[in-house]
């Protein structure tokens, strides 16, 4: 299945002259996204596809965070696992996860991570591509003081630290959402009236 997605910003309307507005744009001002997606190589019968589309439109879908939210490390070295270590102030563990090799890594990155694990921070620095800014900062810090894990962690850009913390929150949300939706076959979920039948043990019910 090939995806061709064009993600159109609803906030870019018809062409007009720019003008000053009272407030600057900030994160959170986006009202939504328009998507146009083509799914190819469909193996199912057209009637099945139509039924699936109608179902999606009328009953919605589970609002999970997508895998993108957890980085490329998967279940072994995803951002959410780094986030957990951050909450616990386990700096060395957080850094070890950052440098955990994973299947999405290019060969040079695998080499860099291996050098890191051997404690050869200079070699790691030579191999790391400039796009891996956080990893570079960590290695620079550890090269000057191999035991200063806290300092190395704190040299990671603040926004990146926050991404990991958010990833952990998102991970818990996803698990909890699965738990909440699990007993229900969709679309039996449509009114809260049914909740009473499913959870008679609820404290107020």
């Amino acid at each position: 299945v090939t995806l061709l997605a064009s993600d159109l910003n609803l906030l870019t309307p018809s062409p007009s002259l720019p003008s000053l507005v009272p407030e600057p744009l900030a994160m959170g001002h986006l009202t939504g996204n328009r998507f146009e997606i083509v799914l190819r190589e469909i193996q199912s019968d057209p009637s099945v596809v139509e039924a699936a589309c109608e179902g999606l439109n009328s009953t919605g879908y589970v609002n999970y965070f997508g895998l993108q939210r957890f980085g490329r490390g998967g279940s072994e070295s995803g951002s959410h696992l780094i986030g957990l270590q951050i909450f616990q102030a386990h700096w060395k563990a957080a850094l070890d996860i950052m440098f955990q090799p994973n299947s999405a890594d290019r060969p040079d990155i695998l080499q860099a991570k291996s050098a890191f694990q051997k404690g050869d921070f200079s070699a790691a620095l030579q191999l790391l591509p400039s796009s891996m800014y956080s990893e570079i900062r960590v290695c620079e810090k550890l090269r000057s003081d191999p035991h200063d894990y806290a300092g190395a962690y704190h040299s990671i850009p603040r926004s990146t630290q926050l991404i990991c913390v958010h990833a952990f929150q998102s991970f818990i949300f996803n698990l909890a959402t699965t738990h909440r939706c699990d007993p229900y076959p969709f679309p039996a979920l449509l009114t809260p009236r049914q909740d009473r039948e499913v959870w008679p043990s609820g404290r107020r019910g």
Binding site: E36, V38, N63, L67, A89, N174, P192, D195
Partner: protein, 251 residues
């Protein structure tokens, strides 16, 4: 009963989109003194009561779950206990997840809420038949803007002549910020969404295509198509991608 609900428009996933973290004084005494912090931005959530149900005040569209942080409320049913146990298994608690250290500064992460069911708006779909794997099916804005738009009349004619057998689906929809189109596709296709998996599928299609071009005999062609079908199916059934837990994180 016991679900958290909110009809607040502003709850729509603020964590992704606004600074939701505040720096607090490093004075340890202040760390646990929540009363000193401004409460104005707290999202208003309500625990569903028996009375709400009798009066049908809420629907599944209003049900939210927390993104755990400071002052998070948990649903008052088993999912609330489940969240508590998820944190405890990891050595955390609702209190300890309040604050974390960022660049040497103790910071506090504010709790938020996110709807558990999302609906696409202005959803439209159409089925299309096509012949060549890379045929243009939907005009993109870039195509439209180009001075010399791609001429597809030739391939369209070929499509008619050959009785196109490949099936495509074109969908268009709006999503609110913070909702993932990949998760919508997952629901639609009942398939995994990770990019390496889809790279495999694309490669399998390309390989099948080469085989079918090389095989001159019709029988040969059909066999290669069957093969590609089997291959796709077996990839789809990878067990790691089926479990509800695995799906949320397996990369």
């Amino acid at each position: 009963v016991g679900d958290l609900v909110s009809q607040s428009k502003s709850l729509i996933d603020q964590p992704l989109l606004s600074p939701d973290e505040e720096t607090i004084p490093s004075d340890p005494a202040a760390d646990h003194d929540d009363d000193t912090l401004p409460e104005a931005e707290e999202v208003d959530v309500h625990v569903v009561t028996e009375d709400d149900i009798v009066n049908a005040r809420y629907t599944i569209r209003d049900v939210v779950l927390p993104l755990v942080g400071r002052n998070s409320r948990l649903p008052e049913h088993p999912t609330g206990e489940y969240i508590r146990s998820l944190l405890e298994e990891r050595g955390l608690s609702l209190l300890s997840i309040n604050d974390f250290e960022r660049s040497g500064v103790r910071s506090r992460i504010r709790g938020h809420y996110r709807r558990i069911i999302e609906y696409p708006e202005a959803f439209t779909y159409r089925l299309a038949r096509y012949t060549s794997p890379n045929e243009t099916i939907q005009q993109t804005e870039i195509n439209a803007l180009q001075l010399h738009p791609r001429d597809d009349s030739a391939s369209a004619a070929a499509t008619e002549a050959q009785e196109a057998k490949r099936l495509a689906l074109v969908i268009e929809f709006n999503l609110s910020p913070g909702s993932y189109a990949t998760m919508l596709l997952r629901e639609l296709m009942k398939e995994a969404t990770d990019s390496s998996y889809h790279a495999e599928l694309t490669a399998a299609t390309a390989a099948a295509d080469v085989t079918s071009r090389d095989g001159a005999a019709v029988g040969e062609k059909r066999r290669s198509d069957d093969l590609s079908g089997t291959e796709l199916e077996s990839v789809t059934k990878r067990p790691a991608l089926e479990g509800p837990d695995g799906e949320t994180i397996t990369g």
